[in-house]
């Protein structure tokens, strides 16, 4: 029995209803509908599924990637804007539904044409026009501040498929400090971020810190962020960019100014030499396999620019653009077959390496702090 037949059967009386409830009602086309009890089972299940879905989404109301858990000036404003608009919508909903109940249930009588006209013009034209103009003005007035030029750190982020090339430009620097797949920002000051893309359009968004900005090949866009709370916040590409778009994320680490200065100083240095036998062997594997053709490890012969810079890989909080945690099992998994983790990734599989080689290589990479 289809849902409309089910609803209709509530109004049925007598033999027809009995027949329908027995599941033998003839729809008139020579077939017999299935038993109504199926619907009675399905409906509570549907309700349960919806409740479960609602519960499953609740954890999304907090955490490192949430617009309503702001940790920066811009995200704070956007969250306020959301709550103000939500409050306005709730008030409007209650008012309109209350009015409907009032005129159809509580005070049912004909309204004079003049009153009806006043209601339509006042409630249908003047009121929404004024409300929307106020909300629009409130949001527009904040835009210049949110797009203010950064006064502290300057960095450039390039969207690649499917990772992030990051360049820090300290004041007066001739060349950038290159990193990848993680952004580090100082708390309490506005950082200027230039954005571009390599082959396809991407979009840069750290929900807990501010709005998003698209990244275009051959064109530079910009944004600025003013984080306030030190912590780690997740960012995500928000413009579909190919096979592994969903795996194109990154962590944004916000540090107090002094810690940020120390971090930047370290980031500018060359890679440290491997410590221990495993890491030393791993370094040999790294160069024997030609990893340096695509990856740069400053201070070594690895000068490739195709893939992410690995100079300080071990100091990052995630691997493969926010896809895996940065630990030995993940490094092994990634090097053995990157495409299995990230469809479409250009890095070839190194599944011919022995477990020992992979383990040593992971030790070397983890030691690049």
């Amino acid at each position: 029995m289809r849902w409309w037949t089910f609803i209709g059967s509530k109004a049925m009386r007598g033999p027809a209803a009995t027949k329908a409830q027995q599941g033998t009602a003839d729809p008139g086309d020579g077939t017999t509908r299935h038993d109504m009890s199926d619907d009675r089972i399905v409906r509570p299940r549907l309700r349960q599924a919806l409740c479960a879905l609602a519960l499953a989404t609740l954890p999304g109301c907090s955490g490192v990637q949430h617009v309503l858990a702001p940790a920066g000036t811009d995200a704070g404003f956007l969250a306020n804007l959301f709550w103000i608009m939500l409050a306005g919508a709730v008030v409007l909903w209650i008012f309109m539904n209350g009015l409907m109940v009032y005129v159809t249930r509580i005070n049912v009588r004909q309204m004079s044409p003049k009153k009806a006209e006043a209601l339509i013009i006042g409630g249908g034209i003047v009121f929404p026009t004024v409300v929307i103009a106020c909300l629009l003005s409130y949001a527009l007035a904040a835009m210049p501040d949110m797009r203010a030029e950064g006064t502290g750190t300057r960095l450039k982020v390039t969207g690649e498929q499917w990772w992030w090339r990051v360049e820090y430009w300290p004041e007066g620097a001739d060349a950038p400090i290159v990193s990848a797949n993680e952004i580090v920002l100082p708390a309490g000051s506005r950082s200027e971020i230039a954005l571009t893309a390599d082959k396809v359009i991407h979009s840069f968004w750290v929900p807990a810190l501010g709005g998003k900005t698209d990244m275009f090949p051959g064109r530079e866009t910009r944004m600025s962020l003013e984080p306030l709370e030190p912590g780690t916040y997740r960012g995500q590409c928000t413009e579909f960019c190919g096979d592994s778009h969903a795996w194109m994320a990154f962590n944004t680490v916000v540090l107090p100014q002094e810690e940020y200065d120390a971090w930047l100083e370290n980031a500018a240095t060359d890679a440290v030499a491997p410590e221990g036998e495993a890491a030393t062997r791993g370094r040999e594997v790294f160069f024997a396999e030609g990893c340096g053709a695509c990856h740069q490890v400053r201070g070594t012969a690895a000068t490739g620019k195709v893939g992410p810079d690995l100079t300080h890989l071990g100091s990052r909080t995630s691997l493969a653009a926010g896809t895996l945690p940065l630990d030995e099992p993940s490094l092994i998994r990634w090097v053995r077959d990157a495409k299995a983790v990230k469809p479409g990734a250009e890095m070839p599989a190194y599944d011919h390496l022995s477990d020992d080689d992979l383990s040593d290589l992971a030790a070397y990479l983890e030691g690049l702090i």
């Binding site: 026009t129 003005s137 527009l140 007035a141 210049p144 030029e149």
Partner: protein, 125 residues
């Protein structure tokens, strides 16, 4: 001279389309001005904002004139009549005036909303 044709307003749809057309033209003009100015003439948008103000005032005046003509054609204050579903020439004429007037009101709101960002955002960046 086709001017006397204005007496046959019940046959003309001009009042229906003039307001929204001016709104559309205003939108396109502001969009094009902004794109060209910001691409070619730099980040400070002072002259651009003045230009948008001028174009907006022009559009509002033209829509205002259309609204006034539509209002007269509606002839509301003559008989306070806002029902025009009869099959007479007067019904048809007043309906077109009434609808044209309301479309002008919507167009005024649209034009103001389109121009509003220029009142708050002072640079192209």
């Amino acid at each position: 001279m086709s001017w006397p044709k204005i007496l046959d307003r019940h046959q003309s749809l001009w009042f229906l389309i003039t307001g929204p057309t001016l709104w559309a033209l205003h939108f396109c003009t502001v969009y094009a001005m902004t794109a060209i100015y910001c691409e070619k003439l730099g980040d400070e948008a002072g002259p651009l904002r003045l230009g948008i103000l001028g174009v907006t005032l022009g559009a509002l005046v033209l829509i205002g004139i259309t609204a006034w003509l539509s209002w007269r054609q509606w002839d509301y204050t003559d008989d306070w009549d806002y029902e025009h579903d009869g099959l007479t020439v007067e019904d048809r004429r007043e309906f077109i005036g009434h609808a044209g007037f309301l479309l002008c009101v919507v167009s005024v709101i649209g034009v103001i909303y389109v121009a509003l960002p220029a009142a708050f955002v002072g640079s192209c960046v």
